[in-house]
Assembly symmetry: C2
Homo-oligomer: 313 residues x 2
């Protein structure tokens, strides 16, 4: 029998899901991705990941499985009513993985997994109080206070993306209106292309894209496109304003931005920081950093999910 030296980390996203085999020191042995939207059920996705790892001949080396997923519940091992996934209802994802691979599996919120990854391997090393903000298809958050992840009484703490920041604002997948993630996320930015009014809109180069993505908006803003610059400012203001208020929760030392939108880098983080400082309560002024994840290439969520295996199983 071979050595069980690997943890399987799986990060389920609204658009893509990544998985990786990681050693305890953070070395990633294998990392691949699949399109989440390709799979009609979670079970099919689990089987596909199993097949791929089997093909690499690495099944025997896996000690356990850690999964990060939208609305993932640490206590029950289920995904429950995830607005950004096609799979509806309550899905026993930890059980599905565990049964398919015949090894233990543990599951948490994808943003919580990212927070653990960030704390152990990334840009939150040594911090006891910080919050990761995942800017992907939606907006996820992982809250660490007193050095520990805040799960809440039911495992669902840290849903900053569904705090309503605009009264009667944009319709959200959760059935409510004005949630932060309808503005500050990749999807939110593409909605802003349609929904923001501007005198610069009609001649913006973004109109040349049939299905523009958030990264196109960042790219064009860099090139001086005025409408795209407005969208970035609008997004940064809503996010900065929100993070200012959210400081009143846990007074974190840092917000660590993570995911697609944050890859646009320091200029966006600096804008968010400036708007946050404008709006923040006196006692928090000039204390809270906006950091960008250093784990993008290594994938904090996969590493974080994998690290659950070593800490929890």
């Amino acid at each position: 029998m071979s050595k069980k030296d690997l943890a399987l980390g799986v990060d389920i996203g609204g658009t893509t899901s990544e998985f990786g085999l990681c050693k305890a020191d953070g070395t990633i042995v294998l990392e691949e991705e699949v399109l989440t939207t390709d799979f009609k059920s979670a079970d099919e996705l689990v089987k596909e990941i199993y097949k791929r790892i089997k093909n690499h001949g690495l099944l025997d080396r896996i000690h356990g499985i850690g999964v990060g997923a939208p609305n993932g519940n640490f206590y029950s091992g289920t995904i429950e009513f995830a607005p950004n996934l096609k799979w509806k209802g309550i899905i026993p994802l930890a059980k599905l993985f565990s049964e398919q691979f015949k090894i233990p599996a543990v599951l948490t919120n994808d943003a919580n997994a990212a927070a653990i990854g960030e704390q152990i391997y990334g840009n939150a090393k040594g911090l006891n109080d910080f919050v990761t903000i995942t800017l992907g298809t939606g907006l996820g958050s992982g809250v660490v206070a007193n050095g520990k992840l805040v799960y809440g009484h039911d495992g669902f703490a840290g849903e900053y993306g569904h705090i309503r920041v605009v009264p009667n604002g944009r319709n959200c997948g959760c059935g409510r209106k004005g949630c932060l993630e309808t503005y500050a996320s990749a999807t939110g930015i593409t909605r802003s292309i349609k929904e923001l009014d501007s005198k610069h809109k009609h001649y913006s180069k973004i109109n040349e894209f049939k299905e523009p993505h958030a990264e196109n908006v960042f790219q064009l803003a860099d090139e001086g496109d005025e409408f795209c610059t407005e969208i970035i400012e609008f997004t940064a203001k809503i996010l900065g304003d929100a993070l200012a208020d959210f400081a009143c929760f846990s007074s974190p030392k840092a917000y660590v931005l993570f995911g697609g939108v944050s890859r646009s880098g320091k200029p966006f983080a600096d804008k968010v920081k400036a708007y946050m400082e404008d709006a923040i309560l006196n006692i928090y002024k000039n204390k809270i950093e906006i950091r960008i994840s250093t784990l993008h290439d290594k994938n904090a969520a996969v590493l974080g999910a994998a690290s659950l295996v070593w800490s929890e199983l």
Copy 2:
């Protein structure tokens, strides 16, 4: 030398400050109050409390001092820029008490002190995840997650009263606009008398009061006064809406309402709960209780502040 069997618990409020001598089992040996607004400086208030306890001949029995104060900082022992106190700037309150009494003193946010009191002696016994909401002159909050108070990196976590809930709303003492406490607090309710429009306003009995208080509004609402009923609904809706969103932070098992406004009792708590359920994210529905502090008579804040002595000194 006599036995050091008592902790001095002090609860500094915007209007009144209470202090008590408590045994470790929660028995209160002495409890008195002073008007905070009577004292031009914190030092004078400390001296007054010292004088009173000296007059009772109980100085020798005090083991240590625990203080709960608005914007009180656990790490530094100071009050910093408290919007609801006349004393401005940074006040080394723990040091002032310690030097006056010649015994150790520890300080925290008044709402944090209430949360500890509630957890040890009150309506949050056995809960690892809950939030106390203090509805007094302002709105304070004490957040307990994973069984521990959330202090944040700088000691200033849990300022739910200064989360902005109405864009460009009421001016707040903190210099910002629309903070929750400008609506949901005793002061907020009296502001609503002036600032809320209603066709029932002109004939409301509240107009007969020269300086109406929140309790008058509750009393008249109970008697069927339509304008006062509207104010209560308005207040409950803003608070319930806010608590719905705040669930996204720590997903508490319960919010424990505490302080003057909550003394109006279960009907108000039920309204807040109903509005909270209307607005809350699916995954939290019908899970979070609104409880009312059971420690009003015994004073959770004084007990909580005193309990700091046994836990921290």
